[in-house]
C-alpha cells in the first residue's frame, strides 16, 4: 500500500487526487487539486459553474488526461489504468441516459454487461432494481416513459450491479421533484453506510449538508475549504460558501477597476 492510500484520518482512500492540474488551452480548470474520499464517506463538492467539479469527475472517469498530478481510484492511477479503474466506479450524471426502446431491466443488463458483469440472472437483476427503489413491473416497462427519478434509480441499480466501490454523482438531484430527491438522498445514504465512497458535485447546499460527511468548496480549480456538516448547519455552510463566492466577485471587480 502506497502512502497515497491512507488519508489524514488514517482511513483507506478510495478516491484521491494529488496535485491534480488540468487546463483547456489558456483556461485553468484545476490547479493543484488535492482531495480524498474514503470508504463510507460522502464528499460533496460545492462550487460555481466552472469551479472544476465536473472536470474532477471527468478525470476520475479517465475521460480527460491531467496536465500533471494524479487521480487515483483505490490507489490506482486512472491515467495508467483507465479500464481497470472504471470497473470500480459508478457514474450517475444529472440525467441518466438510457435506451428508450429497451426496458429498465434490459438497460440494466446491458450496462452491467459492459462493466464485465454479464452473468446475472433475471432474479439477481430484479434484486438490484428493487434495492434501487424501483418496482419489478416498472423495470419491465420501456424506459421511454420513465421519469427522471426512475432513470436515476436505474443508474443506481447499475452501480449496484457493477459492485462499484466508488460513486461519482454529477448533479444527481438537479431537476428531481422533492419526493424523488428525498428518495435519492435516502439511497445515497444507504450506499455510503454500505461502505461506498461517494463524490458528489452539486449546487444544492441543503442536500449537500444532509448527505455529506464532508463538504468541499471549490473555487477556480482548487479546494478552498472543507466543512464538516456535523459541526455546522445548512445556513452556516451557505454563509461560508457565499463568503468565498463574494471574495471571488470582489477580486473580479478589483481586477476590472485596475
Amino acid at each position: 500500500m502506497s502512502s497515497h492510500d491512507i488519508n489524514n484520518n488514517g482511513r483507506t482512500s478510495v478516491l484521491q487526487t494529488i496535485n491534480l492540474r488540468k487546463t483547456f488551452g489558456e483556461v485553468i480548470a484545476l490547479e493543484g487539486l488535492n482531495l480524498d474520499v474514503s470508504a463510507g464517506e460522502t464528499l460533496c463538492l460545492l462550487g460555481a459553474n466552472g469551479a472544476g467539479k465536473t472536470t474532477t469527475i471527468n478525470l476520475f472517469l479517465g475521460f480527460l488526461e491531467p496536465n500533471s498530478g494524479e487521480a487515483l481510484v483505490n490507489g490506482r492511477n486512472v491515467a495508467l489504468a483507465p479500464v481497470e479503474t472504471k470497473k470500480e466506479l459508478a457514474y450517475i450524471p444529472e440525467q441518466v441516459a438510457l435506451y428508450p426502446s429497451l426496458t429498465g431491466l434490459e438497460n440494466l443488463r446491458y450496462f452491467a454487461a459492459l462493466a464485465g458483469h454479464d452473468y446475472y440472472s433475471d432474479t439477481e437483476l430484479y434484486e438490484f432494481i428493487e434495492r434501487s427503489g424501483l418496482r419489478k413491473e416498472q423495470a419491465d416497462r420501456s424506459v421511454s416513459g420513465y421519469s427522471k427519478g426512475m432513470r436515476q434509480k436505474i443508474g443506481v441499480a447499475t452501480a449496484l450491479a457493477k459492485q462499484a466501490k466508488a460513486f461519482l454523482l454529477d448533479e444527481p438531484l438537479s431537476g428531481l421533484d422533492p419526493s424523488a430527491a428525498n428518495e435519492f438522498a435516502h439511497l445515497a445514504n444507504n450506499l455510503r453506510q454500505d461502505g461506498a465512497a461517494i463524490l458528489m458535485a452539486t449546487h444544492d447546499i441543503f442536500r449537500a449538508t444532509e448527505l455529506a460527511t464532508r463538504i468541499g468548496i471549490m473555487k477556480s480549480g482548487q479546494l478552498v475549504e472543507e466543512v464538516c456538516p456535523d459541526n455546522v448547519d445548512a445556513s452556516e455552510v451557505e454563509a461560508i460558501y457565499l463568503n468565498h463566492m463574494r471574495a471571488d466577485h470582489a477580486d473580479l471587480e478589483k481586477g476590472e477597476a485596475a
Partner: protein, 477 residues
C-alpha cells in the same frame, strides 16, 4: 463487452419496425429475384438444349450436299450457362448466347446486343446480385447511420464510456450487429444457390467453388464498406438526421447514379459501331478485296493460282490433283479471317476501353467494382462473352476448313457438283466450349478487387477514427 453491445444493438433493431419492414421487403425482393433469375436461366437452358439437339439432327440428316454449300447452310454455337448465372446473369440476357457459324463470314448477329454491352448495364433487373448491390448497402446505412450520433444525442455515449468501453469495442459491436442483420438477406442468396444446384448445369465453370466463395466474400466486403462508412459518418456529425441525409445522398450517387453516368461517359468517349455499320464493314472488307473485280483482287487470285500450280508442278488448273474451287474457297477464308480479327479486335477494344473508363469511376462507386467482380466470377461478364465468341470463331474456322478440305480432296473435277452424304456429316464434331480458367478471370478483375478492398479499408479507418474522435469530443463536453 462486444457481445453485450451486439446483443443490445440486435434487440434495438428487432424493436424498430422500420428496420424490420425494410429487411422484410428486401428479403422478399431477393427471394423473388432468385426465383425470377432461376426461371429465366431454366428457360434459356431448356431452349438452348432443344436447339442444340435440333441443330445436330438437321446437320446429320441434311442428305447429299456439296460441303461448301453445307458450310453456308451452317450450324450454331451455343454458349452454355453455368449455375452461378442464376445469382448474377450479368450481360447474358442481352448479349445473346448463340452464334451462327457460316462460311466467309463471322456472323455479327448475336453481336448486335454487344453494341449496347455497357449501356445495358444501366437497366435494373430483378436478380439476386442486383438486389444485393443496390438494397443491401441501403439497409446497412439504415442500420448504422444513427450508430454513434444517436448515442451522443441521447447521452448514452457518456454512460457507455464510463463503463470502460473502448472506441474499437463500440465500433466493432455496432458494426458486427449491422452486418449480422444485413446477413439476414442471405436466404435470398441461399435460394439462388439452391435453385442453381437444382438447375441442370450445362457447364461447370472451372473452380466453381472458389468462384462462389469469391462472390460471397466480395459482397461481404462491399456491405462492410457501407456499414463502416455509415458508422464513420455517424461518428463525425452532430445529429443522426444529418448522417442519414449524407449517407442516403452518398448511396444515391455511388450506387444509382454513378454506374449509369460512368457507362454514358464510357460509351461517349469510346463509342462502339452501330450493328448495321459494323456488318457492312465486315462484308465489304472481307469479300470484295478477294472476290471483287478490282486489280488488287484479280492480282491476289492470280497469285494464288500461280502458287498452287507451282506447288503441284502443273501448268493448268485442270491438271491439279485437287479441287481448285475448294482450294480457292479456303484461301478466301484465310484472307477473311485476318479481316475479321482486325475488325473484331477494334470492336472488342472499344468495349474494353468503355469498361476501363467505367472502372475509373469505381473510385467513387464501389458498386462498379463489385458489379465487375460479381459478373466475372459468375461467368457472365463481357470478357466471358468475348471468350465464348472467340472460341466459337475458332471452331467456325476449323469447321469450314474441314468442309472445304473435303471438297478439295474429294471434289476432284466435280467441284461444286461434288456431294457429301450423311455419313460424312455425322462424323463432324460439335462445338465443345471450355470457359476461361479462374486465373484468366482474376487477371481481368484484380484491379476491381483492389479497389473494393481499398474502399473497405478506407471505410474502416473512417469508422474507427470517427468513433475515437467522438469519444474525445464527448469527454470534453
Amino acid at each position: 463487452m462486444i457481445k453485450a453491445i451486439l446483443w443490445k444493438e440486435l434487440l434495438q433493431y428487432r424493436r424498430d419496425g422500420r428496420i424490420v419492414a425494410v429487411l422484410f421487403i428486401t428479403l422478399t425482393l431477393g427471394i423473388a429475384a432468385a426465383l425470377n433469375s432461376w426461371s429465366s436461366v431454366q428457360n434459356m437452358q431448356r431452349e438452348r438444349l432443344a436447339a442444340i439437339k435440333t441443330d445436330r439432327t438437321i446437320w446429320d440428316n441434311q442428305g447429299k450436299k456439296n460441303p461448301h454449300t453445307a458450310a453456308h447452310f451452317s450450324r450454331y454455337a451455343f454458349q452454355p450457362t453455368s449455375s452461378l448465372s442464376v445469382f448474377d446473369p450479368g450481360l447474358g440476357d442481352y448479349m445473346g448466347s448463340a452464334i451462327w457459324l457460316e462460311a466467309h463470314y463471322r456472323d455479327p448477329a448475336t453481336l448486335r446486343n454487344i453494341e449496347d454491352a455497357v449501356e445495358i448495364q444501366r437497366f435494373a433487373r430483378l436478380t439476386p446480385a442486383w438486389i444485393l448491390q443496390v438494397f443491401a448497402p441501403l439497409l446497412a446505412i439504415l442500420l448504422a447511420f444513427a450508430g454513434i450520433a444517436s448515442e451522443r444525442e441521447r447521452g448514452t455515449l457518456r454512460q457507455v464510456m464510463s463503463s470502460g468501453v473502448s472506441p474499437k469495442q463500440l465500433f466493432l459491436g455496432k458494426g458486427i450487429a449491422a452486418l449480422c442483420v444485413v446477413a439476414l438477406l442471405a436466404p435470398s442468396v441461399v435460394a439462388a444457390v439452391v435453385l442453381s444446384v437444382s438447375t441442370h448445369d450445362e457447364i461447370e465453370l472451372p473452380s466453381a467453388d472458389v468462384r462462389l466463395f469469391g462472390i460471397v466474400a466480395s459482397y461481404a466486403i462491399y456491405i462492410a464498406a457501407f456499414t463502416f462508412a455509415a458508422i464513420g459518418i455517424s461518428a463525425r456529425v452532430s445529429k443522426s438526421k444529418t448522417a442519414l441525409i449524407a449517407l442516403v445522398g452518398f448511396w444515391a450517387v455511388a450506387v444509382i447514379f454513378m454506374p449509369r453516368l460512368a457507362t454514358d461517359i464510357g460509351s461517349n468517349i469510346s463509342p462502339a459501331p452501330q450493328a448495321a455499320e459494323f456488318s457492312a464493314k465486315l462484308s465489304s472488307e472481307s469479300s470484295s478485296p478477294f472476290w471483287g473485280g478490282s486489280d488488287e483482287a484479280i492480282a491476289r487470285r492470280e497469285q494464288i493460282e500461280a502458287d498452287v500450280l507451282r506447288q503441284y508442278g502443273v501448268d493448268t488448273i485442270e491438271d491439279l490433283p485437287i479441287n481448285y474451287d475448294g482450294y480457292l474457297l479456303q484461301e478466301s477464308e484465310e484472307f477473311a479471317n485476318g479481316v475479321f480479327d482486325r475488325i473484331y479486335d477494334e470492336l472488342w477494344g472499344a468495349y474494353e476501353t468503355q469498361a476501363d473508363i467505367v472502372r475509373v469511376f469505381s473510385i467513387v462507386s464501389p458498386t462498379i467494382a463489385l458489379g465487375n467482380i460479381s459478373s466475372a466470377l459468375a461467368g457472365s461478364d463481357l470478357h466471358a462473352h468475348r471468350h465464348f465468341a472467340d472460341s466459337a470463331e475458332m471452331f467456325r474456322r476449323d469447321f469450314v476448313r474441314l468442309l472445304n478440305e473435303e471438297m478439295i480432296e474429294q471434289g476432284g473435277k466435280d467441284g461444286y457438283a461434288y456431294m457429301a452424304d450423311n455419313d460424312f456429316w455425322q462424323q463432324n464434331p460439335d462445338f465443345d466450349y471450355q470457359p476461361p480458367t479462374l486465373s484468366d478471370v482474376v487477371s481481368k478483375i484484380w484491379m476491381d478487387m483492389v479497389i473494393l478492398l481499398l474502399w473497405a479499408f478506407i471505410a474502416y479507418q473512417l469508422a474507427f477514427r470517427g468513433v475515437r474522435h467522438s469519444f474525445k469530443q464527448e469527454a470534453m463536453a
